[in-house]
Symmetry: C2
Subunit: 329 residues, 2 copies
DNA sequence: AAATTATCTGTAACCGGTTACACAAATGCG
DNA sequence: CGCATTTGTGTAACCGGTTACAGATAATTT
């Protein structure tokens, strides 16, 4: 690997001049610039980021902390972030925390050791001490924090929307699935839905679940129909659970949406491919990722007027696990 | 941020001694060690990875190059890799190439600039010049390369298995979906299936597709039934396409698996949640990721006897889009 | 023409670790 | 006891960039 000194020697200039050419700052004579460029070319030189990072006390890496990339909601977030940070020349350092505080801490630690310029986190312990006196731009994604800017979709409204959707379309005995208690946005959508259900003149029950994992989703589905066989409307905690419930309902011979309406949450890519295709509350994951990245980059650039929260709208994606709304209602 | 010099001063020793304590090498008196540890503790010191990387000319980062994390096969691979590299104290630098040569090149470039210790790539251009004179341990995953070790599942056998499965279960007019031409493993599974179909006494046709993307999958599904309405068995190029076909088939009122058998490829998490659940050829994605990571780490450690290929078995996951095999046959 | 200012370039310190080398003290051995 | 070896520690060079500062020349201004 050629170094800046090799280039300097080849071009017959000092390393300072080469550096000036590389970074396009300071004064460089046009003739000199050409010679340096030629040397860079002929040596196939590429500057060492590590050396630069050391002096600058800042790399061009951004830490991304996710609960679990295997959950289909997150790849989209990650992709949105990556596409956006790449536009500004940053790269991503990835970490899956599994929502475990020690893994989270370890990742933050190594992010700092690698002198990341900033960090985006989609994990829960938003206000614990790990983040508190962190001298680093941090954006929370799909989570809220008192201390740091956050980008998220409106969970309360999403929950409301889901509940209203089923009610308007005639479900009378709704089961509301409550997601894992420690996941903030799950709680929001739950409370949003709960509020609407409480106001309405219908029966409803709540089924508590403790995870979003694929393998568990089927369990919740079985539990649902065992405990509430007569339910005619299910508000799922997310699309994975919804699709598992759909699977189980069809297995039990329920007609969907005639006997049972079902609405998911997230709008993961697969929800349009289930049969019947899944009605759901869409969170714009890719856009959320992009927005979080944009916000972080503005913080990195120390721009003024950084908004503390960016809330993206949730939307009802009406597919075929809900009935058409009665036009006479 | 405290530096090693702060620690040295606090402990009343030289930086060399602190470094020895940190890395647990060289001679350090037990009393001195205690003082140093105390200073580290009280200053809450954490060594700067960037400085270390610069001197060592090697970071503790591993580059991971994927086509697109949004494709549900890859998160599992990524997770397997991450879990394994973390065990050895490495972290991941992530890149999505979209199978575009220039993005791929850019990522490799920045990986090198960041002095990664090694790299795992799941992209296609395995033997192009980008990788050729790379003085870096590289493992290809889900791809084969002449120059570098590879970890993959047996695509030919997978294709054969898929074809045999449909034939044994009585499909007579099979449609074989050919995946994107530039994706190597897609070609393997296609040829494996093709070979078996050619030998068998059945009719079959081939439908060529040019992508794996969600949005396109539905298009292939429609095209399939438009061109081959009488097909009674479909070998899909992967599970996404299979599930899209399943969706379309159900929409058209086909009975599955009675009228139409369908087999996917990959065994992504969702394939067990479709209804009917999808029969498929399983590639053990998480394990593949783990194996690739293990192999890479052995290369990094310069162990002898590195195998050039690790081939993992594909297995038939018999679910409900295929019929039970006739016990009298 | 003299004084300013702008342009161009080089020297060397600096970022924060690691380690080669030197040296001193302690220990082992014949 | 004398010499070799082991143990313990420090000094300073090094990794490969960036930049403060200085000095020289060229262009402008007065």
């Amino acid at each position: 690997m050629a170094t800046i000194r090799d280039v300097a020697e080849q071009a017959g200039v000092s390393v300072a001049t080469v550096s000036r050419v590389l970074n396009d700052n300071g004064y460089v004579g046009s003739e000199t610039r050409k010679r340096v460029m030629g040397a860079i070319e002929s040596l196939n030189y590429s500057p060492n980021e590590v050396a630069r990072s050391l002096y600058k006390r800042e790399s061009r890496l951004i830490g991304l902390l996710l609960p679990d990339i295997t959950n289909p909601f997150f790849p989209q977030l990650a992709r949105g972030i990556e596409d956006e940070v790449n536009r500004s020349g940053f790269r991503l350092l990835l970490g899956n925390s599994d929502e475990e505080a020690n893994k989270e801490l370890e990742y933050i630690q190594t992010f700092l050791q690698n002198q990341v310029v900033g960090m985006i986190s989609a994990t829960n312990n938003t206000d614990n001490e790990n983040y508190s006196n962190l001298n680093l731009p941090v954006v929370f994604l799909d989570r809220v924090s008192k201390r740091h800017p956050s980008v998220y979709a409106d969970g309360i409204e999403g929950g409301r929307l889901a509940a209203r959707t089923l009610i308007e379309r005639g479900s009378k005995r709704i089961t509301l699935i409550k997601g894992p208690g420690h996941v903030k946005p799950a709680a929001d959508r739950f409370h949003g839905a709960l509020a609407v259900l409480s106001e309405a003149e219908i029966d409803f029950s709540v089924l508590s679940t403790s995870s979003y994992a694929f393998d568990d989703a089927r369990k919740w589905a079985e539990e649902l129909f065992a405990k509430h066989p007569d339910t005619d409307g299910v508000i799922a905690s997310n699309d994975i659970v919804a699709i598992a419930i759909l699977h189980e309902a069809l297995r039990l011979g329920r007609k969907i949406p005639e006997d049972l309406q079902l609405i998911g949450y997230d709008d993961i890519p697969f929800s349009s491919l289930s049969y019947p295709s899944l009605s759901t509350i869409r969170q714009p994951a890719y856009e959320m990722g992009k927005e979080a990245a944009k916000l972080l980059i503005r913080m990195i650039r120390k721009e003024k007027e950084i908004e503390q929260t960016i809330q993206l709208p949730v939307t009802l994606i009406e597919r075929n696990t809900t009935r058409k709304v009665d036009p006479n209602a």
